[in-house]
Symmetry: D2
Subunit: 338 residues, 4 copies
Amino acid sequence: MLVVMQAGADAAQVENVVAAIRELGLTPHPLPGATRTAIGITGNTGAIEPERLQALSGVLELIRVTKPFKLASREMHPEDTVVRAAQTAIGPGTFTIIAGPCSVEGEDLILRTADFLVSRGVRMLRAGAFKPRSSPYSFQGLEFAGLDILAKAREKTGIGIVTELMDAAHADAVEQAADVLQIGTRNMQNFSLLKRVAVSKRPVLLKRGLAATLEEWLMAAEYVLAGGNYQVALCERGVRTFADHSRNTLDLSVIPPAKLLSHLPVLVDPSHGTGRRAFVPAMAMAALAAGADGLLIEIHPEPDKAWSDGAQTLDFDEFDKLLASLRRMAEVMGREIN
Amino acid sequence: MLVVMQAGADAAQVENVVAAIRELGLTPHPLPGATRTAIGITGNTGAIEPERLQALSGVLELIRVTKPFKLASREMHPEDTVVRAAQTAIGPGTFTIIAGPCSVEGEDLILRTADFLVSRGVRMLRAGAFKPRSSPYSFQGLEFAGLDILAKAREKTGIGIVTELMDAAHADAVEQAADVLQIGTRNMQNFSLLKRVAVSKRPVLLKRGLAATLEEWLMAAEYVLAGGNYQVALCERGVRTFADHSRNTLDLSVIPPAKLLSHLPVLVDPSHGTGRRAFVPAMAMAALAAGADGLLIEIHPEPDKAWSDGAQTLDFDEFDKLLASLRRMAEVMGREIN
Amino acid sequence: MLVVMQAGADAAQVENVVAAIRELGLTPHPLPGATRTAIGITGNTGAIEPERLQALSGVLELIRVTKPFKLASREMHPEDTVVRAAQTAIGPGTFTIIAGPCSVEGEDLILRTADFLVSRGVRMLRAGAFKPRSSPYSFQGLEFAGLDILAKAREKTGIGIVTELMDAAHADAVEQAADVLQIGTRNMQNFSLLKRVAVSKRPVLLKRGLAATLEEWLMAAEYVLAGGNYQVALCERGVRTFADHSRNTLDLSVIPPAKLLSHLPVLVDPSHGTGRRAFVPAMAMAALAAGADGLLIEIHPEPDKAWSDGAQTLDFDEFDKLLASLRRMAEVMGREIN
Amino acid sequence: MLVVMQAGADAAQVENVVAAIRELGLTPHPLPGATRTAIGITGNTGAIEPERLQALSGVLELIRVTKPFKLASREMHPEDTVVRAAQTAIGPGTFTIIAGPCSVEGEDLILRTADFLVSRGVRMLRAGAFKPRSSPYSFQGLEFAGLDILAKAREKTGIGIVTELMDAAHADAVEQAADVLQIGTRNMQNFSLLKRVAVSKRPVLLKRGLAATLEEWLMAAEYVLAGGNYQVALCERGVRTFADHSRNTLDLSVIPPAKLLSHLPVLVDPSHGTGRRAFVPAMAMAALAAGADGLLIEIHPEPDKAWSDGAQTLDFDEFDKLLASLRRMAEVMGREIN
């Protein structure tokens, strides 16, 4: 933490800030400069709120130095985390595909999709039983019946299941049906829900919030890690910007800094990220090239008849073609598709 | 809904889209233009997902015409909604002040603040018992003990209580202690929580999400209205943009369009909106001038010692000064501070 | 400037950075902390590029402390600047109205508008002779003929003229016709143009760029001040965000920090800021309440027939009504409309 | 163009809008719906400003259907444009590398870099003689002396030169020294400058503005095409968003829609896009995978001593390593590095 004083701040104002820092149990280090004084602060600034220093007389601004995440940080945990679910390892050396329809529309669809994926060597199926919808009048998912269908698909085909948990009250049921608990973008800072999955035995796939900075995203992961669940994968799915050429702005540029600052694997969802089928394959390829650890991707045997998000969903042929391209590129990069 | 065809789309492609629209139970209206054909769609497009039309051959883009909110829209409900809580009416003709510390730090603080507010004619106190914090290591609020303190302040002083509900599991307790249930910015699209407050007898104060469009915000309100709770007030509290001159970008410009499209009252939170004490009074005045229905504002007898958000909190003297300025301006505008 | 080292950085890495700082002619101040070392830098960091330190081994990040603007900063120039043009003083105690049509459409329009404004006590007319248009196929302004019309209006009515300079090649002609040179939002960082107006005898009205931070805006002003022209007024006109409820997002929240950091007056353009006539009056009132020094506002006798921007333009009656409201509010605030 | 009426609009209001559309020389097509009427407009809406319809009584909003760009659109020009400069073809089948230091610091640096690039089979060198800098106190480039150095490097090594044109007054000199004229991000909507390069014989590399939508970017290209210069390449270099994990947000997701809507080649600048050396290679690879036509990338023999932008600049070894990776990936994708 660094307190920057105004250019005209006098010695008494500096001394007052120094005293306030000491009062907080921290150590001040005044740095007189040519035009102004800055005061470095050392000590454990995490537990208290030095922000109050900002309002002291003569203070221009407060600059935080230490990143607030600890368990999620690579500094504390240099080696990459591998998230294990079903027979898959999400992490270095692999590129994990998690595919399926936006929502569980019925048993036929899910079994057909699971069979298709297994035949392609894909080991994880994604589909929503509970659906967060902007409108109360839109289809909200098959809910518990949807979970039953997912559980049956797992039993029959051995495929791993990724599905969203929207409400702590559903957590036990979702844990039974799913191998990975997805926290959706709208719930990235639903701290009650994060605390619930923090005590789950299931890995967590944490989607980035629409307006979340990398730091906020890692802090949301920190909630899960701090509760004792170390199996967390991040998932970039597009953020909200002024750009209107796609539904969201898929931020592939977050991958290198996320990998630098954290040891957690990073997946990419090009379906929600672009909102448009024609743009999905290029972004899926780019995610692999950018160093992502895998994809969350929407497929459906007949996307034009999907109950939700059909416009961003690949059909099986399109997915096959993309998968072949990904395999070729992964080989060049020394990565294995799983 | 309007389907815009590519310039080179041929008659068969147009016919195919027309057929798909009919299959959805809707009525197509082809509009051949100089360079391209557009196809208007009439019928109830709310229940189904015409987005799938986007992926049909020859389609350039899909343009939605009808706004998806109904109960929240002024078209359906031309007169302004008045939200009534404690002895206050939030709505036309008044400008409602809701003030208090960021968090319930203890009984003394709350009682002292309540007494102060009552002495100034302010009838609603805000303070958080449950606090959403970016870091799991930050103070999370006094929780249920905090609710007890708020209830006691209400009993002793008659002041109305506004406090945040973060978790449906706390809803009964929060309803007992509070006159207004606040849904925080991070939970604006926590649909489970919205469905819970939709069946509450308490009015709801719905903060705008950090990256919520006006339409998404009104759709979140629609969840509450659709569940049967018509007492909803909106609260602008700053959105996330590239601008770094304040903690968030307080979007006062949303007030006139919100008032045009909806009948719900709109409050403004200049404390979270700016994140800095020195900027709060100017934004509070501007909120009144822009047509807001009131303020949610942080005050504390000793902001520099506040446990959270002290940097954006006014002390009692600063609040008194602001209140005097607001009263003078409200009088000119024919509004009454309550 | 502060260099933050990685948590695991060793003594050799710290020493290497310290040496690099010295090589730049600056003074390093190592600050060993509990988890990492930070190194404060003092000396004149403006002329060189300490950013290169970021790439040194063991460096986590670089944090700049000193603001780069000098002549524009309030620290260097505590008293408010007053910009004087025509018979107007833009600055403390006044609230200056600059009104007129988007573009110079003809002599009749300009003379009629000038007469109207003079009759209302407004002393500055704005209208574009050269128009920056997104499309090469849109009306680009009457250009030099437009300047002649503006000059004639000034001669006949005594009104001051504000008009945009888009090209250094037009500067002499624009200086002759105008009292204030407007730099448009798209040219805020057209440094060649800024250098040209920096040697002008005319005051400059510098619009904020669509994605300009406050610092970048003040640095653009610094270009003008550094060239010797101290008569600069800033003008907020909406920035680009995700919000789609208005054409741009009018950022009134920039006013208090702009006033804190700089001594330059700040105007607001609610017409471009909102893009919609119905939203203009509320934002004009809010600008006054927020502490702005005046307005740039589009009016036209028949907005529906305006050649450009009619949708955001007030007619004379609407303007009269707004002016009356502004006068009432200005009186309460101790400001004089001029 | 589509005019959407308010739900409660009556027949007279609809008729009034219909009449206003006819008065503009356009054809109205009323579309009565269940809750409201929409009115389609056909005819040439480019030359006039139907925006004025928005302000008519009973109008809810105006929706534009036709994209305003024509020459830049793929609909008008289905085959990909190939931009030819030096011995390079930027377009389908190739992936063009344009590399070099941020600024021309001296003859040695440029000749050394040109020799290095030629030895690696790279045929285009980028370096700035005129530098747009946020601060008037920063190094502004060697200017005309820099152009001479670039011309000499071309003469000696045969390498093609890409350099920025900041001011129409320098255009003749820059055209002599350069094979491609770069329009920088801050000048994307400097329409005077665009009109100047529109009459140049040199190809134009048009960087995307910091807050430019795809449509605005293509409209800027349209200025150049409309003036008669069809050799335009686009360059994505990062946009301005809330994200703070890198200097700008490199928007690779714009590539597929840009390719869909336009026939112009799209390059990517991962150096400015990320602002940080460690992030450049991953984004360069992702650009290739996403379908870009090439890279603009900063290299320097000793980045830590570069006069500007050293923190985002690769050294020659890092560039060699990246080039090898790009070649391997390009081969798999059926593209040739040139």
